[in-house]
Symmetry: C2
Subunit: 344 residues, 2 copies
C-alpha cells in the first residue's frame, strides 16, 4: 500500500496541512501532541513511507538483505537461518528474516518490504512461488530463489535459482523403492496444482514407475491438504490416515519431505502396522530429525548448508553486478537407513 500513499494523502485523511504531517514525522517539538499521535497512527495504518527518506537512502538502505521464508517453522529451513545470517554478516550485510504465509502474497510482500527497508537484495526460501510471476518484476532489487528451481515451469525467470533437480532426485528415490522390489508405491505429494518442487517430485515418481514398467495407479497418488501448511508433519499424518483408510493395497509410501514422513509414521503406528515390516516409508530432504526416528528414515539429502551459502554468494554478485542470471543445481544423495524392507 505504501507505494500509493503520499504525504498529501496523509494530510487529507488527518485534516491537516502537509507541513504538519512533516513536523509529526520529524518529531518537531512545535506540534500538538495529540495531533502528532493521530498523524503517526495514520502513517502507520497506511504504511506510509516518507518520500523524504529518499534523500537519506544511501545511508539507511545500505546493508539489509532479507530472507523471505514460506514455512518459517519448517525444520529444513530453520537449519539454514544461521548459514544465511552468518554469511551475510561476514560480508557486512544485515540479515532480515521475514515470514510469509503463502504464495499469493509473496511478490506484494517482497515489494513492500524492499521499499520500507530499502533492501539491497532478497533471498526467497521455499514456498510455492511461480518464479515467472510477472508481479515479481516489480521488486526493484536483485533476488535469488533458494530451494525453488525451474524444473517444471517453462521459461526462466529473470533471477537466479539455487536448488536441486527435483524430478531426477525424486525419480532416483522411487527407483530405489522399485529396486527393493516394491511395485505398489503410494506417494504423499504436495498440494494439488503445486508446480514448484512438489510438482517436480511427483513427476519424478511418475517417470520412475513408467521406466520400471509399472502403471501409475492414480488411487495411490495422494495430495497434501490445502488447509494445512504444506510439507508439515500434520499434513503427512492426515493424508496417510486417508491413504490407509482407502484400503488400497500398497507396500511403500514415498513422502516428498521428511517431516511429512514423520507424520506418515504416526498414522502407520496408529493403524497398528510396523515400519518397515508391514509398510516401507521414505522421505526427502535429509533433515537431522530423520536420523532419530524409529526406524531411521531413508531419504534424499539436499545439501542445504551449501545451498544457503551459494544463494548468498550469487546474490552478492548480482548486487555488485558481477554476475548474470543462472540456475545452480546441486547434487543430492540417497541416504539408505532403516525404513525400507526388501520384498518380493
Amino acid at each position: 500500500m505504501s507505494e500509493n500513499i503520499t504525504i498529501k494523502d496523509i494530510a487529507r485523511i488527518c485534516g491537516v496541512g502537509v507541513s504538519t504531517v512533516s513536523r509529526a514525522i520529524n518529531d518537531d517539538p512545535g506540534i500538538n501532541e495529540k495531533t502528532k499521535e493521530r498523524i503517526l497512527e495514520t502513517v502507520r495504518k497506511f504504511r506510509y513511507v516518507p518520500n523524504t527518506s529518499a534523500r537519506n537512502l544511501k545511508m539507511t538502505e545500505s546493508n539489509t538483505i532479507a530472507l523471505i521464508v514460506c514455512g518459517v517453522g519448517n525444520t529444513f529451513f530453520t537449519s539454514m537461518y544461521d548459514d544465511f545470517q552468518n554469511e551475510l554478516e561476514k560480508n557486512g550485510y544485515d540479515f532480515l528474516l521475514h515470514s510469509v504465509d503463502n504464495d499469493v502474497n509473496i511478490p506484494a510482500e517482497a515489494l513492500r518490504l524492499s521499499k520500507e527497508k530499502r533492501l539491497k537484495g532478497i533471498v526467497f526460501l521455499g514456498g510455492w512461488i511461480n518464479p515467472n510471476s510477472k508481479s515479481l518484476l516489480n521488486v526493484n532489487v536483485p533476488y535469488v530463489f533458494c530451494t525453488v528451481s525451474h524444473t517444471i515451469e517453462g521459461p526462466h525467470a529473470p533471477c537466479p535459482t539455487v536448488g536441486i533437480d527435483d524430478i531426477a532426485a525424486s525419480k532416483r528415490m522411487v527407483d530405489y523403492l522399485c529396486d527393493m522390489g516394491h511395485k505398489k508405491i503410494a506417494i504423499i505429494a504436495g498440494v494439488e496444482g503445486d508446480m514448484a518442487v512438489a510438482g517436480g517430485r511427483l513427476l519424478g515418481y511418475r517417470k520412475s514407475l513408467e521406466e520400471h514398467g509399472i502403471e501409475v495407479d492414480e488411487d495411490l497418488v495422494f495430495h497434501m491438504k490445502k488447509d494445512i501448511d504444506e510439507f508439515t508433519v500434520e499434513n503427512g499424518y492426515v493424508v496417510t490416515k486417508e491413504l490407509i483408510a482407502s484400503k488400497k493395497e500398497f507396500t511403500a509410501v514415498y513422502c516428498i519431505s521428511d517431516l511429512t514422513a514423520i507424520g506418515a509414521y504416526r498414522a502407520i503406528y496408529d493403524a497398528g502396522l510396523k515400519i518397515p515390516d508391514d509398510i516401507s516409508v521414505v522421505g526427502f530432504d535429509g533433515i537431522e530429525l530423520g536420523d532419530y526416528m524409529n526406524p531411521r528414515i531413508t531419504t534424499m539429502v539436499q545439501p542445504r548448508h551449501e545451498m544457503a551459502l551459494e544463494s548468498v554468494r550469487i546474490l552478492l554478485k548480482l548486487i555488485s553486478q558481477e554476475e548474470g542470471i543462472a540456475d545452480t543445481v546441486f547434487p543430492t544423495e540417497l541416504l539408505t537407513r532403516d525404513s525400507v524392507k526388501k520384498i518380493g
Copy 2:
C-alpha cells in the same frame, strides 16, 4: 564494535580526511570511485554507524522491534515466530528476527543491533542470559525476556519477563513420575551452571524427589554437553547414551525439553530397550512433534502462543510508557500421553 569507532578512526585507517569519509558515506559524486569503495569497505568491516544518522533518527528508527533468539532452529521457538511477526505487524511495527549463538554475546549483540537498526524495542527469546547482567543496562530501548524467568537469580532485572514457573512446573512433572511408582529417575538437565530455565527445572526435580522421600542420586543427574547446542535432539541423544552406558539402574528419564526427549528415545532404541516397557521417558515444552513420536511423549505444556503475544503486549506498553516492570508467569499443563509406565 560500532560504539567505539568514530568517523575520525575511519578516516585515519583509510588515510583520508574526515570530509572524504563523509562524502563516501553520502555517495557524493565528487569522490573518486576507488577511494569510495575502500572507505565503504572499512566502514562495513568496522561496522561503523554514522553519527549523522542521529539526525534522521525519528524517520528511520520508527518501526522496528527485534526478536533476538538463542536457538533459532529450536522447534519450540520456531512455532512462535509467526505469532511475533503477526502481532507486531498488526500493531504497525516491523519485525526483525536475529539469531545469537550463546549468552556471552547477547547483551553486546543487542546493543549493536539496537544502535544500527534504531530499534524501538527487543524481545529476547530463549538462551541463557542472566537477566541481571549489567551489560544489558546499556541497551537503551525497552526489552522483554520471553521464556526466561526470574526463578533462580535473586533480584529482579530492570525489565519484564514472560515465562512459566520452571521450578514448580518441573516439580509437577517429577511428582507425576513418582506417583506412577518411579523411584530411580534420571534427569537430562541443561548444561552445567545454567541458572536460567534449565537451572529452575533441575531444582524442581530435586524438590520433588526430596518431598517424596527419595534421596537425589547425583549419578542420575546428567547435564547436556556444552559443545552441542543446548536443548537439542543431538544433545539428548549423546547424553542419554552416556546415561545408559553408565550401567546405573533407572526406570525413568526426565528430559527437560521435548527435543531432548526425542534424542533420548533414539538412544534407548539403540540399546534395544522399549519405551515405556523398559524405560519411561518424559519431556517438557509441549511441542507438536511430541505427539507424533512412538510412543507419544508425556510432557509439560507451555502456552507458547500466549506467551509470545503477551511479550509483545508488554513491550508495546513499555514503549508507550504505560506500564512498569513486572514478571508474567503463565500456567503450564501436564499432558499425559503414552511414554510412562506405572510400576511397583
